[in-house]
Every structure is written in C-alpha cells, then in structure tokens.
C-alpha cells in the first residue's frame, strides 16, 4: 500500500503516485476488503481522516470495461470468493479465511445476511451489510416523484430499474447515472455515507449493481459503472481544503487544458521465449507489472524467459484535465485557482478546453516522491480530483443562448432549466414586486444622473418586443431602435457604453470610424485560397444583440444609408462578384448624435435640429432629445450626486436596485421565456391612442415640421408595450403597458412640449428625465396652485403677483417651493385655460 514513510520498510517497492489512481478492479475490491478487515482487527485505532490518505485505496469504480473485468467481477458476484491463487494476487497474501468472511455479504447478492457478524468499513461506523441493503433498496424502489402523474406501463418499476433495463436492452451503456438528489430524497443517511466515504460506498454500489444485473440477465458480460452526479452542494474550487480529501465533491469550473489520451496498461500478457507459452494475464498493480520469473508451463520452467506481448495486453484510456475557477468565483484581487482532474475511459475527451463543466468526483491527495531512486517522500501532497461524472453547464453566460428569433423558442429549454431552477425562482419573485419597473430603471446605469425616461426607453430596448413572422412570410421585427440626440456633455456616450456592457452580443462602434462595410458585411479574398469570403461587420456580429453607434451624425451618408435595410428588414444583403448573400442582422440599433449645430437650437424645429433623413428617422422607435436645460433643481441634484460620490455621505438614501448580474439574468430570462400577447383591451387602447396621435399630427398649422404618427409608430407602440409586459414577466400586454408606451413615445420626442404650430420646442416645458417622484411633486403643486387660484381669485378679477401666490403657497404646504416651480405650475394651468399670465402677474379667466 502507499505509505509516505515507505522508508521504514525497505522491502516495499517505492510507492508511485500512479497506482493509487488506477489500479485494477481486483485490487480495488481487495484493498477495500483489507481495509475493512483491518478495521475489525487493527490494534491501533487510527483517526478516520488519517486513514483516508494513509492508504489511498483505489476506488472500485475505476474499473474499465472488458472481458477480464467482468470475469473478475463475476468472482465477486458469482458467489465464488476470490481465490488467493488468481493471477492478480501480486500483493501480499490475503488470509483466505477472512476473505471468505468479508465476502459473505456480497455473495448474498446484496441481501442482509442475518447470520454474519456485521462488517464495518475500516475506520468508520459504516456497516457493509447496511449499505448494501440500502443501495439495493434505492435501486429497486426509488420512484421519481416527477413521474408520479404519468401513466406508463413500465411505471411499476423504479426509475433506476428502468434505467438498468434500458442499459441491458441497448447493451451499449456502461454506466448508470445516479442523481444524488434522488439518493438524498430516498435515503439521506446513505447519501451522507456516500459523500463522506465515497470509495467504500461506491465500491459496494458497483457490486450491488452488478449483482442486480446478473440476476436479471445472467449472461450480461459488461461492467456497469455507477456515476453519481448533481450533489446537493457544490464546493467552490477555492474552498477545497484538506478536510475534503477523500470526500465526494462537486465543483464547477472551466477546462483550460487537456492532456493527450494516455493508454494505460491494465493487464499484461507474457510469453515464454523458450517454449512460447503465454502466461495468464497479469494485473497491473499500482503501476507495476510483476514479470513472472519462471515459465509457468510445467514442462518448461525456464527462468527469466518471459517477455511482454504488447498486442495481447489490455489498455485503458486516461486523461488529465486542468480545471480553473470561473471568473465569477474569483474574489477581487485574486487569480483563479486550478485543480487537476483525472478522467478515465468514457470520460476521456468529454470536455474540451474552454468548456464550463460541473465535475463530481473524489478529491484526493498523493505524496510526491523525491526521485526514482529515493524512497523518501516529501511531506508535500499533490491533489487532484478523480472524476466520476462530468456535466457541461450552460454557456458562459446565461444570456448568450438567447432565442430572440421566432425560429425555435422551445428547442433549448431542457437541460439548462434544471440548473437555473433556483435562480429563476428568484427572478420570478423579483418580477412580482409592484415597483419592478422603477427598480429596473434605477438599476440601469445608476451612476448616470437623471434621464429616467431615457433609461426606461433603453430598458424597453433591452427587453425587446416579440418578433412576428406571418405565414405569408412577412416579418415584423421585435427589436426596438433608439436614437439619442442631445447636447454635448449629457452623458449619452456613457449610456451607450453601459448598454453595450449589458446587452448580449453588444457591439460598440463610433460613427466617425465606421464605414458602410464595416457596419454590415464585406467580401474579401482569402489570401491563401483566393476564394471570396464574407466577413461580418458590426451589425451582423451583433445579431440578436444591441449595436451601439456613437456619433451617428458624423457618419458618412453612405454608411448611414446601409442602415435602412438593417433597421427594418433586419438583414444585410450583399451582392458582389461571386457572392450574393443575405445575412441576418436582427439587431437593435442604439445610436446617439449631437444636434446639427452641436447644441440644440430652440429656434429651429426638432426635425431641423436632428437633421437626419426622415426615412431613417422613422425607423427609430424612440428618438430622445436630451436637452441640457438650465434648471436649478437638476443642477442641485447633480451637485449633490457629485458630492456624495466624494464623501461618505451618511444621509444619502439607499436606493434599491438590482446588481448588474441580476439585471443581466433578469433581462435574458424575460427575453427567452416571456412572449407576451396583446389583450383585447390593450388593443383597443392602442387604436384609440393612435387615432388621437394622428389627429394631432394633422393639425392644420403644422406644416410638416412635426413628426407625425405613421403606421410604423403603431408597430413601435406594440413593441414597446410588449417589452413593458415582459418586464413584469407577464404573458399578457395590459392596458397600462399601452398607456406607458404612449407616454414613453411622447416623452421621447418631447411631444408634450412641442409647439405644434411651429414645430419648435417650448424650452420651458421640457421636463427631461424628471423622476416619478418629482413628477408627483409637480402634480401636487399644480393641484395646490389650482385650489389657491380658485379660492383667492375672482373670475376675471384683479391680477395677483406671482410672489404673493408663492408666499401663500409656502404657508399652506410643508414642502419647499421655488418660484420656478410655481411658474411651471401656472404654465400648466394656463394651458388648461384657467389663468392668464402677464409677466409677473396672474389673472384668473
């Protein structure tokens, strides 16, 4: 056995780290047996933790499939105790009487032998018989609660019995996957034992399984392995520590390196050079083969005549992979940890570098030998994981597999669902919050000040509407395009950067540096083969994502015109020599631009300020004018914000917001699984509102200076309301969604502030990015002012100075009121036709 102090017994071969990991099944059984035996007889009771690595016993399950193995197995299962004379007994001679004794439970076919004295796994309180019986019970009787409702003729058998039958029928499977959750549900005690003493319990598991198989199908030759997966708790790679050694662990990580497949000798066959006699297969014992000294043939008996016959030997595959922590588990200022994982047989090449996997295995440590000739071992251990089961987890991020398209929304709903289970529950809980809309708004770029309505629009873009494909082949996009036009220094670029970070497959380009082909696609000649190849540009690359284009106004007209097709048809068509292609570009475009005269000119109309082709403009669902308007309120808030960044301000209110990963998960879940449909009431509201908008646009004085409602806009509204419903994880678009969509659209164009007569914006009316609470405050103020006017002033009576009104109001209410606030409140009243303002005086009409 491997002891790190092999020094003291010079006869023992220097222990190599190798055998501990890959010895033959025979030994595994035997070593397990010896350990057990020693437990009952050992004069020195040792600590269990020590026993763990003092004798790294090969797990029974390291057994490769093959004739020899099953033969060996049948020794166990076929009711014959292993005879000491079997060729694999290269180890010290086991006392056969005890061997028989310890084999009793196994030969009993897993049943509990009442007569036999209880046999315990060495150093533990695990009774072999009990475990044996428990496993058998589990395999026979476990029924998946999820199957309970299903009517199935095979249902009278348990889940794993069916699995075993399937393996037998197909004759292909060599392993039985056992969900540790099932095991836990059925028998928590057994689960606990398995996790704490995996080597012993799994060895028994295999034996029970083989015995079971032998009963059903006595002729079944292959060895079936038990593969445990889905442990109750998985350890962070970083938190593995010495107490985990020899325990079953489950860790997540990324494969960073795979070794080549290593063929490992399992059984060696020797031939006598003198007489040509082939020896019995010799089992490899801890990485070493004992060459027979004498030819075993009676007539020959030549010494030192045996030679290895390579092509008669049996090999097994082995591979070592390196697993590294995934980025999300690395604490700040740390580097990722790695661990080696040993893979055998079928698990070889199950993962490639770059894959994210969850590995269930046994954490092990082995001593390091100093040199081939030295017997001393260092006091240092190397650790690795003996892999039992490997599962590829979902792609690097939740949101990559985003099926925004209509192609097959249900296709990939299978495996990932399970692993995301509790995450999804959390998201669903979030979605039920009444203020989720505001909360999401706050969470989007929390460090960018104000601009709440712009953020709402951007949220809609992230969530997106439903794409629709009619049977006729007509395609309606679900992506929402947004244009931000605004004064310099209004943090447009920062918003863009943030969106780029947040969106799946976001691409960020600057208009000045982008050419038409760079955005769409271009044809290039492959320098080696001379073939023409298509190279994707930014828009194609951001398929199903958001393409952020900064400095849209500085883009060349040519490049901009390329966007027409992308933004409505969502494809990029190429017709060049040799290649005619149409590429998908189902992307949302988020562009930002400065007004034509770099600052917004209030004397010009909105259209003149933006100065983009109306054809292109109409393809944007939302066009935000972010205007920097002198407003002491906003300035003050900005100042406060800056100050709070610099100082640990105790009285800054804690905003409840989602952190970035949650937000990303929330969005991608909604995009993937929520496909809202319009309710009838919502549809009605939509029609009504649209008709109203059309009327407004057709104002006789408008002279086409206002952006009027078009059919495109009703599509936009549908998309927006769908996105809004998605934010609540609601499958139905309700009236409130439609109302909010209308509001967003109006706010976006500052339409409430647009003078329809001239097409210009009344700067005093702009309420850019006024937060909900602020709006409420202003509403209250308007109401208060109205009451005051009604009370104090006569209809058509003398005019009152504004200052007087202000003082009057201040007396009445507890809140702080500025003259500016009052002025805007009165402005609202004036539009209602309640008062008339002349300079500083107010008159009721």
């Amino acid at each position: 056995m491997v002891h790190f102090a092999a020094v003291s017994s010079p006869d023992v071969r220097p222990s190599s780290p190798l055998p501990a990991t890959n010895s033959s099944p025979a030994q595994s059984g035997r070593s397990g047996g010896r350990r057990r035996r020693r437990g009952s007889a050992s004069p020195y009771p040792s600590s269990p933790s020590l026993g763990g690595f003092e004798t790294p016993p090969p797990p029974g399950r390291r057994t490769p499939s093959g004739a020899a193995t099953s033969r060996q197995r049948q020794n166990w299962t076929g009711r014959f105790p292993p005879t000491p004379s079997t060729p694999m007994s290269t180890d010290d001679v086991p006392p056969s009487s005890e061997a028989g004794d310890e084999d009793t439970p196994e030969t009993d076919g897993g049943g509990v032998d009442a007569d036999a004295a209880p046999v315990f796994v060495w150093g533990t309180n695990i009774s072999v018989q009990d475990v044996n019986a428990a496993i058998l019970r589990f395999l026979r009787h476990f029924r998946d609660p999820r199957d309970a409702g299903r009517v199935d003729p095979v249902m009278d058998e348990g889940k794993y019995m069916r699995a075993i039958h399937r393996i037998l029928e197909l004759e292909g499977g060599e392993s039985l996957d056992v969900d540790a959750h099932d095991l836990f549900d059925h028998d928590p005690d057994l689960y606990g034992k398995m996790v704490r003493y995996p080597l012993e319990v799994l060895a028994i598991f295999d034996i029970v399984l083989m015995d079971l198989v032998a009963r059903i199908e006595p002729l079944f030759e292959k060895h079936i392995q038990t593969r445990i997966y889905n442990l109750k708790s998985s350890v962070c790679l970083r938190n593995l520590n010495p107490s985990d050694i020899e325990k079953m662990v489950s860790i997540k990580g990324m494969i960073i390196r795979c070794s080549s497949v290593i063929p490992e000798l399992k059984e060696a066959v020797f031939r006598c050079l003198v007489c040509g006699f082939y020896s019995e297969p010799v089992m490899v014992d801890r990485g070493r083969v004992t060459e027979p000294h004498i030819c075993q043939k009676e007539q020959c008996k030549a010494t030192n005549s045996m030679t290895l016959v390579h092509n008669r030997c049996r090999f097994a595959d082995k591979q070592i992979i390196k697993l590294q922590e995934t980025p999300d588990e690395i604490p700040e200022g740390g580097t990722p940890h790695t661990v080696s994982v040993l893979m055998h047989d079928k698990l070889v090449d199950a993962g490639k570098p770059g894959d994210r996997v969850e590995i269930t295995g046994i954490y092990r440590a082995m001593t390091i030998r100093i040199g081939p000739t030295q017997r001393t071992v260092k006091s240092i251990f190397k650790t690795y994981i003996d892999c039992l089961h490997i599962k590829k987890t979902d792609k690097s991020r939740l949101h990559i597999e985003d099926s925004m398209g209509t192609d097959n929304p249900d296709a990939n709903k299978t495996a990932e669902d399970v692993s995301l289970g509790d995450k999804v529950e959390k998201l669903k809980e979030l979605s039920k919050l009444p203020d989720i809309y505001d909360r999401l708004t706050r969470s989007l770029a929390p460090n960018i000040w104000e601009l709440d309505d712009v953020k709402r629009g951007l949220l809609c873009q992230l969530f997106g509407g439903n794409p629709l494909r009619l049977p006729s082949g007509a395609n309606f996009r679900g992506d929402i395009n947004i244009l931000l036009v605004g004064d310099p220094g209004t943090s447009k670029s920062q918003l863009l950067q943030y969106m780029h970070k947040l969106s799946p497959r976001g691409i960020y380009t600057s208009g000045r540096g982008s050419s038409a082909v760079g955005l769409t696609a271009y044809v290039a000649k492959d320098p080696e083969t001379g073939e023409t190849v298509l190279e994707s540009g930014a828009l194609v690359l951001s398929d199903k994502g958001v393409c952020c284009i900064d400095e849209f106004d500085k883009m060349s007209d040519n490049a901009r015109s390329m966007l027409h097709e992308v933004m409505e048809q969502q494809t990029v068509s190429i017709a060049k020599a040799g290649i005619i292609a149409s590429l998908n570009a189902r992307t949302s475009v988020l562009a930002c631009a400065n007004p034509t005269e770099s600052r917004y000119n209030p004397r010009l109309s909105v259209i003149d300020n933006i100065h983009l082709a109306p054809t292109l403009l109409s393809r944007f669902d939302l066009i935000y004018l972010i205007l920097d308007k002198a407003d002491e309120q906003t300035d003050r808030r900005l100042a406060k914000h800056i100050v709070s960044l610099h100082f640990e301000n105790p009285n800054i209110e804690e905003i409840e917001a989602l952190d970035l990963p949650t937000l990303v998960a929330y969005i991608s879940y909604a995009r993937k699984y929520i496909q809202p449909r319009l309710s009838d009431e919502a549809a009605e509201e939509l029609t009504r509102g649209y008709v109203e908008m059309r009327k407004r646009g057709n104002n006789p004085g408008s002279r086409k200076k206002v952006i009027t409602a078009t059919a495109r806009q009703i599509e936009s509204l549908i998309r927006l309301s769908e996105a809004l419903a998605r934010m609540r994880f609601s499958e139905v678009v309700e009236v409130r969604d439609v109302v909010e969509a209308f509001r967003l659209l109006e706010v976006a164009m500052q339409q409430s502030a647009t003078d329809h007569a001239t097409g210009t914006i009344d700067m005093d009316l702009i309420m850019t990015g006024v937060s909900a609470s602020e709006r409420l405050r202003r509403d209250n103020l308007v109401a208060a002012t109205r009451n005051l006017v009604m009370e104090k002033m006569q209809l058509g009576g003398a005019s009152v100075r504004m200052i007087e009104l202000l003082e009057e109001l201040r007396k009445q209410s507890s809140m702080e009121i500025h003259l500016h606030d009052l002025r805007s409140a009165l402005g609202t009243l004036m539009t209602e036709g309640a008062v008339v303002i002349h300079g500083d005086s107010v008159k009721r009409v």
Binding site: H3, F4, A5, A6, V7, S8, S16, P17, L18, S47, S49, L50, E54, L240, N241, P242, I245, M254, R257, S259, I262, G287, I320, I321, K322, P327, I330, E332, G333, G334, T335, P336, H337, T338, A365, R369, I370, G371, P372, K378, S379, I380, F381, K382, T383, P446, N447, G489, S491, E632, R636, L638, A639, K640, H641, I642, V643, L645, H646, F647
Partner: protein, 600 residues
C-alpha cells in the same frame, strides 16, 4: 517570560518546533490525549508571537538579512531572512503533513519543506495547507527605497555558508540550469522573447538610463517583465485566509529561507508523462534560482515603510505647510518657473484613488502637460522623471512610440500551459506613478497588438482598471496608478483629467539636498494617507458653489465638477487640513481660471 532559548535568526525552525512540542504537550494534557494537535490546523500555537516580539519589540528586525539576488546562495538555508516584494502570481494552495506523531511526541513540519525526522509508518498525521505566492521585486521600485532598511551584511554573519557549502550549492544550481533548459519550455520561450524586449528597452529608454545611471540600477528597467530572468521568491504563507493577500500587493515577508538540494534534483520523468499536468507550477521555479521562503511574519508595506527614518514629528499643519512650500518651489524650479504647472503637478502627485462606483472613479487626477516637443521633453521630461523617481517609491517612464505600442507586452497574461501569470508592463502595485512621453509618437499604423495596448492604456486612464488575459476570459483588476502624460497637443489617446499647457520660462537646473528629498518623501506619503472628514455644512457649501458655477457656465459637466472637488480635496490635504473649506475650493477655482486662460 524568559528570553528565547534559540537563535531565532540562525535556527528559527528550532524555535518553531520547540514551541510546537510544548503546545502539543499542553494540549494533550488538557484533552486527555485525544487529537491534541487537531486544533492547531490553520492556527498559530505561539511561535508567531515569539518571532513578533523578537522582531518588533526587541529590535531583532535589523539582525535579519534581506534576501536579494546578490546574496542568494550566500545565505545558509533554514535561517531567518527578509524579503520585500510584490505578489506577482498566486499559485494556489499546497497540502503538507503539518503534524505527525513520532512515537509519543507530536512533531510539526510547518515552515519547512522537509521533515527533520523521518515520518514513521504508519502514524497519525494531519494534513494542513499553506498558500503559495510568487513574489518579485517591486516593478519600478526606485533606488532610494532600498536604502531605507538595510539588513546586516550577510558575509560577516555566522549564518553565511562556508566555501565548500557554497561550492556544493553552486553545482546544484548548475544541474538545475541544465534541467530547465531541457524540459522547461517556459524558460525557452521567455529567452526567445528576451532580445526583442531588450531592444525596445534599449532603444526607447536609453537616454534616460544613461543620464542617471547612478540612480537607476537595472531594476528600474523592464527586465523584471521577463519571467525567470530576474530574481523572484516563492513565498509560502500560513494561517490566513487567502483573500488577505491580493495580487500586486507589496509586502515584507520575514520567514525561513529553505533550500534543499534534493528538492532541486530532477523529478523522475519515467512514468510521469501524464503527470506533467498534475505537476504543480513550482516545478518550473527551480529552488536554486527562486528561493523558498516560509513566511512567519508578513506585513503590508505602504509608502511610509520606505522612508529611512520615520520622523518623530506629528504631521501638524504648520510642518506640512512649510514642507509644501519648499516642495512647491522646487517643483516650480524644475518646471522652468511655471507655477501653475507646479501647482497641478503637486496635486497630481498627491492624488490617490478614493472610491470606485461602477465605472466612475473618484480621487484620481491624471495630468497631461501639453506644449512639449522632443527637445523640451528631453530636458524637462527627464527632470520631471528624475524628480519623481526620487520622490515616489515606485515609478516608471514609458516612451509612447508606435514601435513601443506594437511590441511591448503591457497586458499580463495567464499561460495556462505553465499555469503561471506572465507579467506585463501594466502589472503594477497600487500607487505606482507612470509617465508617458507622447512626444515620441509619430504617425504610423498600429498592429493588432498595438491597438490592444492602446485600449489597455485607455481603459487604465478612464477607469483605473487593467484587464488581465486569462485565455478564455479577461479579468479586470483594479489599480491605483498616477498617470502623467507629456505631449505636444492635447493627448487624444490618453485622455487625462487635467490638461495643462506647459509654459516654462527658463531652463531647469536645480538640485535638492538629501534632507530635502527626505522631507518631501515623508510629506507625500503622509499627505496621501491623511484621512478626510467633511462636515455637512461643507457639503451644502460645495453644492451651492457647484450650482452657481453651473449657472455661470453651462458647459460644465459632471466630470469637471467632480474633478474640481477632487482637486479641492487634495488641495486641502496638501495643507495638512483634514477637512475641506471654502478657501481651498476658491484656490482650485482660481487655478482652473488660470488654466482655462492658457487653454485659449
């Protein structure tokens, strides 16, 4: 308490073991013989205390030699040494037999690679863990910092190796070198890379190097960015959560230096083809080149720790003010009597990262001096670099040329084959000062590497983050680096917070005395660590000020106001004040006014 019976410097392990055996006996007596040492896992049993009191209370620190490239091989193994360095890579954990029962006594292997007693078989033992850190001399560490805490001369000490020992040791090293060239492809690749880097280094920074040869030893170059070519140390740290040490931390490790020729012997390769993957990375760090240090005492170093003699005086505002004055006048002279530039440079030198909210960083103040051309950059630039080198513990000057951008390895990269982090120029400890000379930049085309490097620099400027390449993903590491750019016009590649047109009126030609330098260093270190507290009236006052400023100038944005506040805060602390007051705000406004005048 009786004094230590052991020579703690010459035989630290003796003390460790003695304390352990005593503690184990006591524990055994207490628990009645059951698992007496289990409680010692991940804990100290009193050895640490012995060393701490020896080092810090009894002045033993001065007796401990400093381990560096020059005396590596002279120091006797298993003695106490000191090492100052930056954590360049974290190599994970190592499990070892921490305690084992030898007959009836418990023994420990803590703080050593080898067991002094053969471990009997079978025996009770405990497996403990320790953390491995690969430490290198701090990149860009300036020479003055080394004078601060010299260790005793190794050769005069009793712990020095005898000649024959040295001979033997040398042979071991030779074997080792051979071994490495045979199977270490890392070393091979790095040596193939070496000439290129050397070229870049020579061609770009040679004027500077030749100018102040006596001040800059080779350490200040880019040599340390080639793995294996320079001195490094493998530090094994015990008894602490790993999160306590962060990548790029600068710390002093005091511990047991071990060297075991047996460890250096080649590991058998016969049946280990498959085990090269399990092979830990330490195998590539041959013990003869990379000494092992079993850390007993560890302390994080700040700029203060590099000052040669900590002044006894309290940082009173009066004292600080006078030093500020002398430093400012010196800066003015160095900058050719450009007082505005000197003021800005002072603020820049005092800036530090205070807070980071998402992408917004607070407290940094990167500076861009414009109006340089090649000639003036060579005169003033060198003066500035020279001064900074003598004032700050770590600084580097990077010549920003097309060639440099296209060839230099700025980004640290994880080599998953060797499992090591290959360092890049931007792997720097917190508080490093970088000077970019953009006057060398001419029009030309960047290769993809050049573009990547530019993006890295830009990211560093904007968000104080450096992206490390982990092959399958990138990981952003937070940094706190002061960035100064010298350029002809406003640098558009490296967008600084503060752009100051440089207007010198005379040629610099001043030299500072050693005492002056000393006091300035102390001043910079002290002011940067001054705590800031502000009363709520000040908040209000500043908010009002900002609102009025915005009313006056609509073009003021969030970033500018934020910068003003940063400058005002630094201004306040530069006078030794704990809290910001209106005068400082006014001073900053005045400074800004002057600066804006120049910009027009």
């Amino acid at each position: 308490m009786v004094g230590p019976q052991y020579d703690l410097v010459g035989n630290p392990l003796g003390a460790v073991r003695a304390t352990f055996e005593r503690a184990a006996e006591a524990a055994a007596a207490e628990s009645g013989g059951r698992e007496p040492v289990a409680a010692f896992r991940g804990k100290d049993w009193g050895a640490n205390e012995v060393f701490r009191s020896f080092l810090f209370e009894q002045g033993g620190l001065d007796k401990v030699p400093v381990l560096d490239a020059s005396n590596l091989g002279l120091i006797k193994p298993n003695t106490l040494v000191r090492f100052r360095g930056m954590v360049q890579d974290m190599l994970g954990n190592e499990y070892y037999v921490g305690a084992f029962k030898d007959g009836s006594t418990w023994r420990t292997n803590k703080f050593s690679d080898f067991s002094p007693f053969s471990i009997p078989h079978p025996c009770d033992s405990h497996l403990w863990e320790r953390h491995l850190f690969h430490c290198v001399p701090v990149p860009g560490q300036n020479s003055w910092t080394r004078e601060s805490s010299p260790g005793p001369d190794v050769c005069t000490m009793s712990i020095c190796l005898t000649p024959e020992q040295r001979e033997k040791r040398k042979r071991g090293a030779d074997n080792d070198a051979m071994d490495v060239s045979e199977n270490g492809n890392v070393e091979a690749s790095s040596s193939s890379k070496k000439p290129k880097d050397d070229d870049a280094h020579n061609s770009n920074s040679s004027p500077e190097v030749s100018m102040n040869k006596e001040h800059i030893p080779e350490m200040n170059g880019v040599d340390h960015h080639i793995p294996g070519s320079s001195f490094s140390c493998l530090v094994k740290v015990y008894d602490m959560p790993e999160s306590q040490v962060k990548l790029n931390d600068v710390a002093e490790f005091i511990g047991v230096y071990t060297f075991d020729p047996e460890l250096a012997a080649p590991t058998d390769n016969s049946d280990d083809i498959m085990f090269d993957l399990i092979e830990d990375v330490t195998a590539q760090l041959p013990p003869s080149k990379v000494p092992r240090l079993h850390c007993l005492v560890r302390r994080k170093l700040s700029a203060h720790d590099f000052l040669s003699k900590p002044p006894t005086a309290e940082p009173s505002p009066i004292l600080l003010k006078s030093i500020r004055q002398s430093l400012l006048s010196h800066l003015t002279l160095v900058l050719g009597k450009d007082e505005l530039a000197a003021q800005c440079l002072l603020l820049h030198l005092l800036s530090r990262l205070l807070n980071k909210v998402d992408v917004v960083t607070v407290g940094r103040l990167s500076l861009n001096f414009t109006g340089f051309n090649r000639e003036s950059a060579s005169i003033f630039g060198n003066q500035i670099n020279n001064l900074i080198q003598r004032l700050l513990p770590y600084s580097q000057a990077i010549p920003l040329s097309i060639e440099y951008l296209n060839t230099a390895t700025l980004q640290p990269r994880k080599d998953n084959k060797s499992g090591r982090l290959i360092t890049g120029v931007l792997q720097l400890p917190q508080g490093t000062h970088l000077t970019f000379d953009e006057t060398l930049l001419q029009s030309g085309s960047l290769t993809s590497k050049g573009v990547e490097n530019t993006m890295l620099l830009k990211n560093l400027m904007e968000s104080q983050m450096v992206e490390y390449d982990f092959e399958y993903y990138k990981l952003e590491m937070a940094t706190d680096i002061q960035l100064l750019t010298l350029s002809e016009g406003k640098s558009n590649i490296l967008l600084s917070d503060l752009i100051v047109p440089f207007r010198p009126s005379c040629v610099p030609g001043v030299n500072a005395s050693a005492e002056e330098l000393e006091s300035w260093r102390w001043y910079l270190a002290t002011v940067r660590s001054l705590p800031q507290s502000t009363e709520s009236e000040t908040y209000q006052m500043i908010q009002d000020e900002m609102v009025s400023a915005m009313r006056d100038d609509r073009s003021l944005g969030c970033s500018e106001l934020s910068r003003w506040l940063t400058m005002a805060q630094i201004m306040a602390s530069s006078f030794g004040e704990n809290s910001l007051s209106i005068e400082h705000w006014q001073m900053v406004k005045e400074l800004e006014r002057l600066r804006k005048e120049r910009l027009q």
